[in-house]
């Protein structure tokens, strides 16, 4: 503390904790309002910065939503992963039924459905459009078919793989294959895309940091005279830093909200065609939007990136400014 002067100078005695806390709150409120005022003073520039941040955040958020929807869609199909086992032509109906019964007893099997050759032919006649051609045939060319639904726990298809191998080795079975192998491939592709989106999100987060950092750097230089005067009159580093940190938070918050709006608007635009497509496939699939926690994550992510970006810029550029 500075020694007492002839006049009662300001703050000579150490303030109590309560007083200091009130001062602290007061200064935060001032910085918050002041930084908001600065943004408001320059609405177009502020909006542009926030929009760039918003777009950068909207991209990974949008991809995430698309992936989530794809996952939901395939999860709906994933329950119906089936193995189709085509029996040899010489296996008669009683033998086929016995075999179906045997397989159904196994622990890893959920359900077995036998489709006899006649039924298969009826189905084929109905769907293929070759009805007349089939009439020409004297006997049914189709084998009996076992549709087996494996019991799957979780995402792994390993138990089903073992089941498939077992079925292939049975003497009555001519061929066995996954009914929907493409689905597995699609799931794998989604996995890769998911990883790619995560990497993209990291890059874009870095971009947001750079955008905020650069904006705050410009702000610091723009307000250099003010910083010098404030330092001369005894402003602490945290006092000077505060409004800039709040500016970063505001940019991040506005960017997050813009990102949310962009994604939500895009989904609204996609909802109708997606519904149309689902109707054509007789599916009850509907496009799911941003969930509450993901919305919160986007906005909180924006705020956090804004804060970190401005903090980094302040670390780098504030020290260089000393009163002249």
């Amino acid at each position: 503390m500075i020694a007492r002067s002839a006049r009662p100078a300001l703050r000579q005695r150490a303030p109590t904790f309560g007083q200091r806390f009130v001062t602290w709150c007061l200064q935060h409120a001032q910085a918050l309002i002041y930084s908001l005022g600065q943004l408001w003073h320059n609405p177009l520039a502020s909006l542009l910065t926030a929009a760039v941040i918003g777009i950068a955040l909207a991209l990974p958020a949008g991809f995430y939503v698309i992936l989530e929807n794809a996952r939901h869609l395939t999860a709906g199909w994933g329950g119906s992963v089936q193995i189709a086992a085509f029996l040899r032509m010489d296996v008669g109906e009683p033998a086929a039924q016995r075999l179906a019964h045997q397989i159904a007893q196994r622990a890893e099997v959920l359900e077995v459905k036998l489709i006899p050759p006649e039924e298969a032919l009826r189905e084929y006649r109905r769907h293929s459009g070759f009805a007349e051609a089939l009439d020409v045939l004297e006997e049914n060319p189709l084998p009996a078919l076992l549709l087996i639904r494996p019991r799957l726990d979780g995402e792994s298809t390993r138990p089903a793989d073992a089941l498939l191998e077992m079925l292939k080795s049975l003497p009555e079975v001519d061929a066995a294959q996954y009914d929907q192998q493409w689905l597995q491939r699609l799931t794998a592709i989604i996995g890769i895309v998911q990883r790619a989106v995560m990497i993209l999100a990291l890059f874009l987060a870095a971009a947001v940091l750079l955008i905020v950092g650069n904006t705050i750097r410009m702000l610091i230089y723009h307000r250099r005279p003010e910083i010098e005067i404030a330092k001369l009159f005894g402003a602490t580093d945290s006092f000077i830093r505060r409004p800039f940190l709040y500016s970063g938070v505001w940019y991040g918050l506005c960017g997050g909200v813009i990102a949310w709006l962009l994604v939500t608007a895009s989904l609204m635009a996609l909802a109708r065609p997606a519904g149309e497509l689902a109707r054509l496939y007789a599916s009850n699939f509907t496009l799911t939007g941003l969930s509450a926690d993901i919305s919160l994550l986007v906005i909180a992510g924006g705020v956090l990136l804004g804060l970190i970006g401005s903090w980094a810029a302040l670390q780098r550029h504030l020290k260089a400014i000393e009163p002249m």
Partner: protein
């Protein structure tokens, strides 16, 4: 209040701005530092305000050895000092009131108290009616007076002024000097760097003349001590 003992300041590149300065300015005194441009007047003020640190020697301000003031404590140290400059350095994007309020805002004073003190300070420099004006719309003399109000609003023990009348005509300069004297009379220690010798002599205060970084003469004026 201010005690220099063998103070030396060398800038990078080997320029000696101050050489072996020893002096003492008593609490409640008013003193002038004069000399040509480059004689070391500003450097001396900068050392007192801890904007720069001495290369050698000891400086004690307000009972505090400046060598021992850590960087993190500099803001608190400066809150007991008021500053004034030749180019007033007011912030043009704020009103006169907000400019003067700055030292109080920094100190975390409450709003009601700030209003009271700022208005009192503006009243003393006869600018209360202009409190909502922007500094740009004021005359040079008025701007300087706002600078004075800002320099004393937080009731510092020490007032440092660097060429406060440099841009003003003799009549305005005299008004400013009288204001300084008023503050000095209520106990503020005032140290003014100025090369306006004619006016300084009229003030009949202590004059420290620097030349090439050394104290050339040390003329005690009447009226203090």
């Amino acid at each position: 209040m201010i005690q220099f003992t063998g103070v030396h300041k060398q800038y990078p590149g080997g320029v000696d701005a101050l050489k072996n300065i020893s002096m003492h300015i008593e609490q409640g005194a008013m003193a002038f530092i004069t000399g040509r441009s480059g004689a070391g007047k500003s450097t001396l003020l900068r050392l007192i305000a801890l904007i720069e640190r001495a290369t050698r020697g000891q400086i004690i301000v307000n009972g505090q050895n400046l060598d021992r003031v850590r960087r993190s404590r500099i803001p608190h140290f400066r809150r007991n000092i008021g500053f004034m400059f030749q180019d007033h350095r007011l912030l043009n994007d704020r009103t006169v009131f907000d400019n003067v309020a700055l030292p109080l805002v920094i100190a975390g004073i409450r709003h009601q108290e700030i209003k009271k003190r700022v208005q009192a300070a503006l009243d003393k420099v006869s600018l209360l009616p202009r409190q909502n004006a922007r500094p740009m719309t004021l005359s040079a003399g008025e701007q300087q007076r706002v600078g004075i109000a800002r320099a004393v609003v937080h009731r510092p023990a020490l007032l440092l002024a660097d060429e406060p009348t440099g841009n003003l005509d003799p009549i305005l300069s005299w008004e400013i000097m009288c204001l300084f004297e008023q503050f000095n009379r209520v106990g503020v220690t005032v140290l003014i760097a100025s090369h306006d010798l004619e006016m300084i002599r009229k003030m009949k205060k202590r004059i420290i003349t620097l030349r090439e970084g050394r104290i050339l003469t040390h003329a005690g004026g009447a009226g203090e001590d």
